[in-house]
């Protein structure tokens, strides 16, 4: 029963991801990326990871993509004269990515199929992830607070206009 849902979601996410690369206007790319993130959130829900489903929507769709949209509107990039690479560079890029895909696929091909049964496991619930996070991964959690502080100070410092040139 879950297989058709998986296929629909997978096709949607691949389509949206492709449109991020193909779309001409940056704003369209951002909107397709948001759609792609929503389909990935759907995959999390199918994998019974409710906590990550909520966090993914809040952090990616709610924070990161809004930041992207703000910057694109701020920079006024929605021009028709979007720079494009030369044909040779594009062909080289497509063939490189295709070769990378083939190599990764060849590594996966020999793996024996494992049936994924997520209906019974409650491993993605807030309770289990939280217990793991606050017991085993307490130290990285604290350090990530430091990382956020550093990022905030860095972003403010970089984003300021240099009024005084001292």
């Amino acid at each position: 029963m879950t297989l058709p849902i998986f296929y629909i979601l997978a096709m949607l996410s691949v389509f949206c991801a492709l449109m991020v690369v193909v779309a001409r206007k940056p704003v369209h790319s951002v909107l397709y990326l948001i759609a792609c993130f929503f389909t990935i959130a759907g995959h999390y829900l199918m994998l019974n990871a409710q906590f990550l489903f909520a966090v993914h929507i809040i952090v990616y769709a709610g924070a990161i993509m809004v930041l992207f949209l703000f910057v694109i509107m701020l920079l006024n990039l929605n021009l028709e004269s979007e720079p494009r690479k030369s044909v040779i560079a594009r062909v080289a890029a497509v063939s490189t990515a295709g070769l990378l895909f083939l190599v990764l696929l060849a590594a996966v091909k020999s793996a024996e199929p494992v049936i994924l049964d997520t209906s019974a496991s409650g491993v993605g619930l807030v309770r289990h992830v939280g217990l793991k996070l606050y017991n085993e991964y307490m130290m990285p959690f604290e350090v990530s607070a430091l990382l956020f502080l550093t990022a905030m100070v860095g972003a403010v410092k970089l984003g300021r206009k240099e009024a005084t040139h001292s």
Binding site: A10, V20, H43, I64, V71, L116, V123, V129, K132, M152
Partner: protein, 102 residues
Amino acid sequence: MQSLLVNHYIILATILFTIGVLGVLIRRNAIIVFMCIELMLNAVNLLLVTFSAMHNEAGGQVFVFFIMAVAAAEVAVGLAILVMIYRNVRSVDINRLNRIRW
């Protein structure tokens, strides 16, 4: 009736990762390159969640949580850098950002 396999998710994550690599290689707008990096991070996240569900182990999901935290911090700093570059160069075309090449 086939059932859902772990291999399906591995292939999906591979496709998404490859599209991200393609976007980084093919586009010249720095913001879109940045978005494709986010796409690659998400492909890896999806793979981590899949393996976490396969092994019935919450550790993988905790790591996805940390990756999201680092991605948020990275986006904040990276977009600040992009805005600063735009202020100086009046463009976010990565082919024009070659001053530190030599």
